[in-house]
Amino acid sequence: MITFFIVAAVAVAAAIGVIAARNAVHSVLWLVVHLCSLAVLYMTLHAEFLGLVQILIYAGAVMILFLFVLSLLSARSAPNAAAWEQPRGQTGLAIAAAAVVAALVLVGAAVGNIAAPTQGAAGGAAAFGTVQTFGQALFGPYLLPFEGTALALLTAIVGAVALSAGHDDAAGRGLPATVAAEPADGAPIDVSHAAPAEPVATGGDR
């Protein structure tokens, strides 16, 4: 319980750091701290695998990509304060929204019957959070959402490649070599020939 409060305090402080930091790179690094403390929370709930995957994927990979994009866009010098958009009532709205969410959570916890998920679908408390139960849940009852997420992510990849390749007709010049080399799924992205749905269909079967 003490662990929970310490880690939760760190998580909240880091989350505040994300929006309070004037420097975008500092924001991302605060987000890394936040995601890591979330991972620790998962681990205290005996979901060690989920916690480690959280670190591997979010804190490790996604945040590094964020940092790359930011430093490529040269976020070093923060714009002067006068040029910032002044909040026009967003602060109040945000506080109200946060209060509503907090109230919902509290009411839900008080009224609803949210028991601690100690009983996994495929085993008792001992098996909860292991890779086996995790995988069985992912490819059993949650197969459809899982594949749907995969499809959505794939669409995002294809979209990003298409956007970075430019809107003009790429037939004459072909894609830049770096872009053509990069589709992570091995599905060749050929803007000039393939119908938009085609790479999605081939990649989604994986």
């Binding site: 790179v25 690094l29 670190i55 591997l56 490790g60 990979a61 790359f68 490529l72």
Partner: protein
């Protein structure tokens, strides 16, 4: 209380080993590179073969002025060496050193290893960006692209072993090899090759040391570091060299399994053999170009590791 004391003891052992490992490897690297280039290497400091050269190096690094470059992002710049050292220390938790010797036998040891080592890149990025120096930044960007690209084949190449043993425990993987007296380097040869090449790239060592390519980038992401802060990077680098080799030994070369000698000795022997091969490669091969590096990673190692995973799974299903 007892648990805390025990944990403290483990931490002290790991940190002591970290220092000793860097002490020996820095000397060994200089000596081996010397012999490869037909010269003697360190000769004069202590002992018959300059054996105390590292002690002199450490003394020099400790007595240097602690200098922070003017335009640096002070927080990031200061924290970066620590951030790259922490994962180097943490991975020792799961390495199975002997039949009964492992600091913490996690049931997801391999995932732990992968997720902890992914933090090295964060330290490198903080160093490169925080230095406010174009060479540092270019080095960090290269390191990012490289580590990111090679992490995927590195992890995929270990999946074959995981499928074959059905466990993510590193100790369990070694036990499976000891039981059948068959090291996975034979049935998983493709996986081993992909693993070793990718691990050399992950370690930022020649032929893949583009992140610190001294002929173009001065020293890459740690250009602005000196003294003990630079030493922290070096210690982390040599520790990673050892732990990655040790992971290779654990997954493919039978870990502590071997005749006659006690297990921990086999473990150290095999690990340092892989380390030696790494040093050998570093002083033999020239640096690759960045486009060759990306080609090798994405067009060769990545498909190869995927094919290896699929092949292993198919074989185990059909058998």
């Amino acid at each position: 209380m007892n648990i805390l004391l025990y944990a403290l003891l483990k931490a002290v052992i790991v940190v002591a080993f970290l220092g000793l490992n860097a002490f020996v490897l820095i000397w060994a690297e200089r000596k081996i590179s010397g012999y490869i280039q037909r010269r003697y290497g360190p000769l004069r400091v202590g002992g018959p073969a300059g054996a105390l050269q590292s002690a002199a190096d450490i003394l020099k690094l400790l007595t240097k002025e602690d200098f922070v470059p003017g335009g640096a992002d002070k927080w990031l710049w200061t924290l970066a060496p620590a951030v790259s050292l922490i994962p180097a220390v943490l991975v020792y938790l799961v390495l199975p050193i002997g039949k009964t010797v492992v600091l913490q036998n996690l049931n997801i040891g391999l995932v732990f290893f992968a997720s902890v080592t992914s933090f090295t890149l964060l330290g490198i990025f903080m160093a490169g960006w925080g230095s406010n120096n174009k060479y540092s930044l270019v080095g960090a960007m290269r390191a990012g692209a490289q580590l990111f690209s090679y992490e995927i084949p590195l992890i995929l190449s270990t999946i074959g072993v995981v499928i074959a043993t059905g466990t993510l425990t590193l100790q369990g993987i070694v036990e499976a090899q000891a039981q059948h007296h068959e090291w996975f380097v034979f049935p998983q040869f493709v996986g081993f090759v992909v693993f070793y090449v990718a691990s050399l790239a992950e370690l930022n060592r020649t032929p893949f040391d583009l992140a610190e390519a001294e002929s173009e980038l001065i020293a890459g992401y740690f250009t602005e570091y000196s003294g003990i802060r630079w030493a922290m990077f070096a210690i982390a680098e040599y520790s990673n060299l050892f732990t990655t080799s040790a992971l290779g030994v654990t997954l493919f070369l039978g870990g502590w399994h071997g005749p006659w000698l006690p297990g921990w000795m086999w473990f150290l022997l095999k690990s340092y053999l892989l380390v030696f091969i790494g040093i050998w490669i570093r002083w033999t091969l020239p640096r690759v170009r960045i486009d060759q590096l990306m080609d090798l990673g994405w067009k060769f190692l990545f498909p190869l590791s995927v094919a290896n995973v699929l092949g292993t799974a198919l074989y185990l299903m059909v058998r």
